[in-house]
Amino acid sequence: MNRTRIAKTRPFIALVAVAGLTACGGSGQDSSGTGTVGGDITYSYWGSPARAEKVNKVIAAYQSANQGVKVTGEVADYNAYIERMTVRAAGGGLPCVIGTQSTFIAPYAEKNVLLPLDDLIESKAIDVSQIPEDVLKAGRIDDKQYMIPTGTFVRLVAYNVDLVEKSGAAAPTNDLTWAAYADWLKQVQQGLPPGKYAGEIEAGNMFSFTSWVVGHGQQMFADGALGFDKQLMIDWFDYWLDLQKAGATVPPSMLADQQLSLEQTPLAKGVAVSGTRDIPHLYITEKALAANGLGTSVKAVSIPVDGSVPSANVLGSNGLSIPKSCDNKATAASFINFFANDKAAALAFQSDNGILTNTANQEALLSDGQTPGGVKQNVAILRDLTGRSDLATSSYPDGLSTLTAELTRLYQQVAFGKATPEEATDGFFDKAAQALR
C-alpha cells in the first residue's frame, strides 16, 4: 500500500541526503589543471546589467582567441550572488569560474571548496607577474593562493569639494591624524546650513574600523582571534559618539541610508560633506551630485593615521577562483589568465569591478581613447597611492562577514543609546570568540 512504501522510503531519502552532505565538503579531485583547453565552462559573477555587457565583451574576445571553448556568463546582484554561491557550495554545484572577494573568501578556502592555484601559477597557466605582491597577498589564505585578484579596492576619505569651500574650511590633506580629522569635521560643520552635516558616521563600517586599528599600529586579527586592545575599540566608539553628539555627523536615523545604493547615500545627496568611499565610487558619487546640481567634484584623501604608521589605506580585492568541483580546470585557468592579463580583455572590461590589477594593462587603459574619464581617474588614483607606498594590508579570516554585520549592529545600539561603548566592545569580542573558530 502507499503508506508502507512511503514509510520505507523516507528514512532512506534522509540517509542519502545526509550522506550527500557529508561527502560534499572536499571532493578530493586532483588539482592538476593540465589538460587541453576546450569544452564549456560557466563564469558566475555579481554585478548590474552594465557590467554584464562588459563581461560579455570579454567572453567574446576570449572565445574568438580560443576556438572551441564556450563560456557562459551568469550574473546576479551582490547579495543574491552570495546566497546562491553559498547554497551551491554546500550542495556541490559551483561552476568552474567564480567571482570572489578578499572579504569573504576565507571560509571557502579553509573548508576546501576552492582550489589552491599555486600549481597553475608555477606552470604559467596563470601569469601573475604583472600583479603587485601586496595585491596578490589579498588572495592568499594560509600561504596558498586561492584567488587571482583582478580588481583592487581601497577606501579613502571622500569629500564634496564645493561644500567644503562653502563652509569656509580648508580642504583636507593626505596626512591627517584622527584628532585633526575630528577637528576638521567640527570646523566644517560650523560653516554648514542646517540640514547638512560634515561627515557620515563611519563607526559601524568594518573597513574604516580596520583602518583605525591599522593606523594605530595594531593588527585586526592574529592567531585566530582579534589582534587589538579592547580599549582601542572603546576609543573608536567614543570618537564617533562625540562627533555625533556635537552634531558634526549625520544623525543616527541616517545610518540606514549609508548602506543603500551609492546614489542614495547622504554624501551623494549632498546631505553629508564627507565619508569613506572606494576609489571607483568617487566618480559615481560625483555624477549623482552633478546631476542634481549639488556639487561638481568629489575628491579623496588618505584615511587618517596616528603618526606611527605610514598608511592606513587598507586594500582588498575582487578576483577569480576555481572551485575544486570544477571538471574543466584547464579551461578555467586559461579564462582566468585571459581575464587578468589580456590587453583586449582589460580594455573591454574597463576596470569595472575594482581597479584592475595588471600594471601593464593599467597603462594601456590610461592611454586608450575609449576609456571613460572616470575610469582613468580611478586608475590614476591607485597608481598615485602605489607610487607613494600609501597602502596597507590586513588579513581577512573566516568569520569576517559575521563580524562586519556585528559591528554595524553594535554601533547602531550605541548610536541610539541602547548600549555603552564598553558594552558594545564586549559584545564584539564575544562574537569574535565564537566566529573566529
Binding site: 503508506r3 541526503a17 550527500g20 552532505l21 560534499c24 560557466t42 558566475s44 555579481w46 554585478g47 548590474s48 546589467p49 552594465a50 557590467r51 554584464a52 555587457e53 563581461v55 560579455n56 557562459t72 556568463g73 551568469e74 550574473v75 546576479a76 546582484d77 551582490y78 547579495n79 543574491a80 546566497e83 546562491r84 547554497v87 551551491r88 554546500a90 550542495g91 556541490g92 554545484g93 561552476p95 543603500l260 545604493s261 551609492l262 546614489e263 542614495q264 545627496k269 559615481i284 555624477k287 549623482a288 546631476a291 542634481n292 569595472d352 569591478n353
Partner: protein, 298 residues
C-alpha cells in the same frame, strides 16, 4: 443530478441592488470612503509609475508627475534586459512558469483537498496536521537538502524544480484553502449523489469542483502571483540567463556595488505588473459569477 444543475443555473442571477437599508446617502458615503481609501492605497503605485518615467538622478522627487525630469531611459535600459537577453523574454519565461504552476496546483491541490474534506480514511487527522506542519517550517532550512535533491535529479537549469513540487501538492497553503471551501459545501448534496450511485471521483468532478469555482479561481490567481514573484527558486536553479524569470532579472538592476538603475527597476516592474493584472481581471469573472450553493431542501 440534472435537477441540481438547473437549479444552480437559475440561482446564478446575481441580485445586484436593493438590499434593505441601503439608502442613497449611505451609498454616497460608501463611495466617498471607498474612493478615499483607494486613493491612499494606490498613491505609492502611482508614484512608482511616475518614477518609472523619471531620470535616475531625480528619482527621489516626491511629486507624482515627472515634469522636467521626464525620460524614457528607464524603459529603454530595462527593456534591453540583462546580458543580451531582452526583458520581454523574462516576462515570457515568468508567464510560462506561472501558467504551468497554476495548472499543476489546481490539479494536485484539489485532489488532495477533496480527500481531506470528504473522505474518511485512516490517519487522516495525522496527515492533515503534518500537512499544516509543512507550512510552519521556514524554507531557508529546507533550502540545501532540496537543492541537493534537485541537483541529484539533474533538474538544474530547468523549470522542473518549480513545477514538479506543485504537481505533488507541496503547496499546503492551497490545499488548506480548498479544504476549508470544500467543507463549507453541505454534505447533503454528496449524499444525494451517493444515493444515485456516484463514487468519490464522480462526486469530486461533478459536484464539488463546479461548486467551488470561486475557490478554484482564488487558487489560480494566488498561485500565479506567488510563482510570478518567486525569487529564490530561480536564483538557485537557473544558470542560463535566457531562462531567467522576472524577479531574478529585476534584482540585477539594484546591485549595490555598481550604479543602480532605479528607473529601469520601476519601469520593468510596471511592465511586469500588466500580465499579473490581466490574469486577475480575467479570473475575476469567475469570482463574480460564482454559483451560490443552493443546498438541498428537505
Amino acid at each position: 443530478m440534472t435537477v441540481l444543475t438547473t437549479r444552480a443555473a437559475g440561482r446564478s442571477r446575481r441580485r445586484t441592488s436593493t438590499l434593505r437599508g441601503t439608502t442613497p446617502p449611505k451609498v454616497f458615503l460608501s463611495h466617498l470612503g471607498l474612493i478615499a481609501l483607494g486613493i491612499t492605497m494606490f498613491y505609492p503605485l502611482a508614484w512608482m509609475l511616475g518614477a518609472s518615467f523619471r531620470a535616475d538622478s531625480r528619482i527621489n522627487d516626491p511629486g507624482l508627475w515627472p515634469g522636467d525630469a521626464f525620460t524614457l531611459s528607464g524603459y529603454a535600459t530595462g527593456l534591453a534586459g540583462l546580458s543580451g537577453v531582452p526583458f520581454w523574454r523574462f516576462i515570457a519565461n515568468s508567464l510560462l512558469v506561472s501558467v504551468l504552476c497554476v495548472a499543476a496546483n489546481l490539479l494536485a491541490c484539489s485532489i488532495t483537498a477533496y480527500a481531506f474534506a470528504r473522505i474518511d480514511f485512516r490517519f487522516k487527522r495525522i496527515w492533515f496536521a503534518v500537512m499544516l506542519g509543512t507550512l510552519m517550517l521556514p524554507h531557508h532550512v529546507l533550502l540545501i537538502p532540496q537543492y541537493m535533491l534537485f541537483r541529484a535529479a539533474e533538474w538544474n537549469n530547468t523549470y522542473l524544480p518549480f513545477v514538479v513540487p506543485k504537481l505533488l501538492a507541496t503547496d499546503a497553503f492551497f490545499v488548506f484553502l480548498l479544504v476549508q471551501f470544500f467543507r463549507a459545501i453541505p454534505r447533503d448534496i454528496d449524499e444525494a449523489a451517493q444515493v444515485d450511485g456516484c463514487g468519490h471521483f464522480r462526486i469530486f468532478t461533478r459536484i464539488i469542483l463546479p461548486l467551488s469555482k470561486p475557490a478554484l479561481a482564488t487558487t489560480a490567481i494566488f498561485t500565479f502571483i506567488y510563482s510570478w514573484n518567486d525569487f529564490f527558486t530561480p536564483l538557485l536553479y537557473l544558470t542560463d540567463t535566457r531562462l531567467y524569470t522576472v524577479p531574478l532579472a529585476l534584482r540585477a538592476f539594484i546591485d549595490t556595488t555598481s550604479g543602480s538603475a532605479f528607473g529601469a527597476l520601476f519601469a520593468m516592474s510596471v511592465l511586469s505588473l500588466l500580465p499579473v493584472l490581466g490574469v486577475f481581471i480575467a479570473f475575476q469573472k469567475l469570482l463574480v459569477e460564482g454559483i451560490a450553493t443552493t443546498g438541498l431542501k428537505g
